[in-house]
């Protein structure tokens, strides 16, 4: 626990295998953003057997709806949104090889089981630290669903985005273990 790792996307299973819940990680490379509305559309495409606007295998999805970019910046504040709203859609993406997710808050039992089964990790970014997260984002491109505004799918090029591993591929969950460790009965 508590080591600092560095990851470069795309991620292989070998890249994430050594990570344990509680590890601090920085990420460089490409992330894709999606919130509930975008997930809903992705799932419709999967169900219809159609092609998706973003690659899923070995990628990371960041649950974020950034604030608009002021002139001279690539993005506004860009901290994580609450992940449980994506839970109903997530197992289908994990099945397609999604390797990582960044958000905040606990995941459902189904998502946790699918993470172990398909080998993926869930990482927490600091909720409410939107300005700090934006600093790690170097380039932004809208890839799909522009009509969704902040909820559109974007490609983010990031450098050393700081996150904490919550669920590792062994099935550990920092939300449960961390709280237990500091609970006073």
């Amino acid at each position: 626990m508590d080591e600092i790792f560095h990851l470069e996307t795309p991620l292989s299973v070998e890249d994430i295998a050594p990570l344990k819940s509680g590890d601090r990680v920085t990420i460089s490379g490409v992330l894709y953003t999606a919130r509930d509305a975008a997930h809903h559309r992705l799932l419709k495409l999967i169900e219809a057997g159609k092609e998706l606007p973003i690659p899923i295998k070995d990628q990371i999805i960041y649950y974020v709806g950034p604030s608009p970019a002021p002139p001279g910046r690539v993005i506004g504040a860009a901290g994580p949104t609450t992940s449980y709203r994506m839970d109903p859609y997530t197992p289908s993406l994990l099945k397609l090889g999604l390797r990582g997710m960044i958000g905040k808050g606990k995941r459902s039992k189904e998502v946790k089981e699918a993470m172990v089964k398909y080998k993926a990790i869930y990482m927490a970014a600091i909720g409410g630290a939107g300005a700090l997260m934006a600093r790690a984002i170097k380039e932004v491109r809208v890839l799909a669903y522009e009509d969704l505004g902040p909820e559109a799918i974007r490609e983010l090029k990031v450098e050393r985005l700081p996150v904490i591993v919550v669920n590792d591929i062994q099935g550990n969950d920092l939300y449960l273990e961390g709280q237990k460790q500091y609970q006073i009965a």
């Binding site: 508590d2 509680g22 601090r24 509305a37 974020v64 709806g65 950034p66 604030s67 608009p68 970019a69 002021p70 910046r73 506004g76 504040a77 860009a78 901290g79 949104t81 609450t82 449980y84 905040k104 808050g105 606990k106 927490a124 600091i126 909720g127 409410g128 630290a129 939107g130 300005a131 700090l132 934006a134 600093r135 505004g149 902040p150 700081p162 904490i164 919550v166 920092l174 939300y175 273990e177 961390g178 709280q179 237990k180 460790q181 500091y182 609970q183 006073i184």
Partner: protein
């Protein structure tokens, strides 16, 4: 009568909502510092440090502390000797918010309940007006994010539940919320009144500046007791385990019906944004 123009109201509301979103209050930053004094978890200490860094970046680079710049809630104390001239008061508040969200590059987060179609300008806003003696117009601009609002709850308890029942429900609400409302949080509690009044008090309680003591010694004692209980849960900053789940509990209380004991718990995330202007 003292005249206040809608033009001035629009300008002040516009500036306030931008500033509230870019500049975290000094008292909140101080609360993070104080929390470092007793937080033991290394991950949690890291997080507290990053929250302070985040506040500095937002202020210096003029971007929002948090991308969820919320639904705009506006509390008003309107002195009864104030006359508002130059147009309709509520439209002026709304126009100030509209301009602030546009000019300040704040995220517009208001949509139709079912179609989820964004209204495009972060209106309508939510306004609470109190008419008070005097010739001043006080406006609090309080943008509130969805993550913490979603974790808030209201209970119509049986009177027999008493203080023990209230304590249990408040702690349970914070436990159920876990990491979702971005702890460390501030917990607003409204006790008594009726259904809607308890919710309003819970939210209003959050307007009291962090770090100030409740004027009522009985409530101050209750706040301390609740804070200790909440921080025993071990939820910690961001719910990743630690001593500092909440920074403070703020209570407002009033008498209620002989058959009821209303309780509302409004959770406020660490990105606590409110600004007060007096016109």
């Amino acid at each position: 009568m003292r005249e206040v123009s809608t033009k001035r109201i629009i300008a002040e509301v516009r500036d306030s909502v931008i500033r509230a979103n870019y500049e975290l209050g000094e008292e909140v930053v101080q609360a993070f510092k104080d929390a470092l004094g007793y937080e033991e978890s290394p991950v949690a200490r890291d997080i507290l440090g990053q929250l302070m860094e985040n506040a500095t970046i937002a202020k210096e680079e003029r971007i929002p502390i948090c991308q969820d710049t919320g639904v705009a809630v506006v509390f008003v104390e309107l002195g009864q000797e104030v006359s508002i001239v130059g147009g309709d008061f509520k439209s002026a508040l709304e126009e100030g918010i509209r301009q602030g969200y546009e000019d300040g590059f704040l995220r517009k987060s208001v949509c139709h309940p079912f179609t989820r179609q964004n209204t495009g300008d972060n209106t309508p806003i939510i306004v609470h007006v109190d008419v008070v003696p005097g010739d001043k117009l006080k406006i609090w601009v309080v943008p509130k994010g969805g993550g913490s609002e979603n974790m808030s709850q209201l209970f119509m308890l049986p009177p027999s539940a008493g203080w023990a029942g209230i304590r249990e429900k408040v702690v349970e609400t914070v436990e159920d919320a876990g990491p979702n409302p971005c702890p460390p949080t501030i917990v607003g509690v409204g006790i008594g009144g009726n259904f809607e009044q308890s919710a309003l008090m819970a939210k209003k309680a959050l307007l009291r500046p962090l770090g100030t003591k409740n004027q009522d010694p009985e409530l101050a004692k209750m706040e301390e007791e609740l804070l200790i209980e909440i921080n025993k849960t071990g939820i910690g900053p961001q719910g990743l385990g630690g001593r500092v789940t909440s920074l403070a509990v703020h209570i407002l209380m009033m008498p209620c019906h002989i058959a009821s004991l209303p309780l509302a718990v409004n959770i406020q995330c660490h990105a606590t944004r409110h600004l007060e202007v007096v016109l």
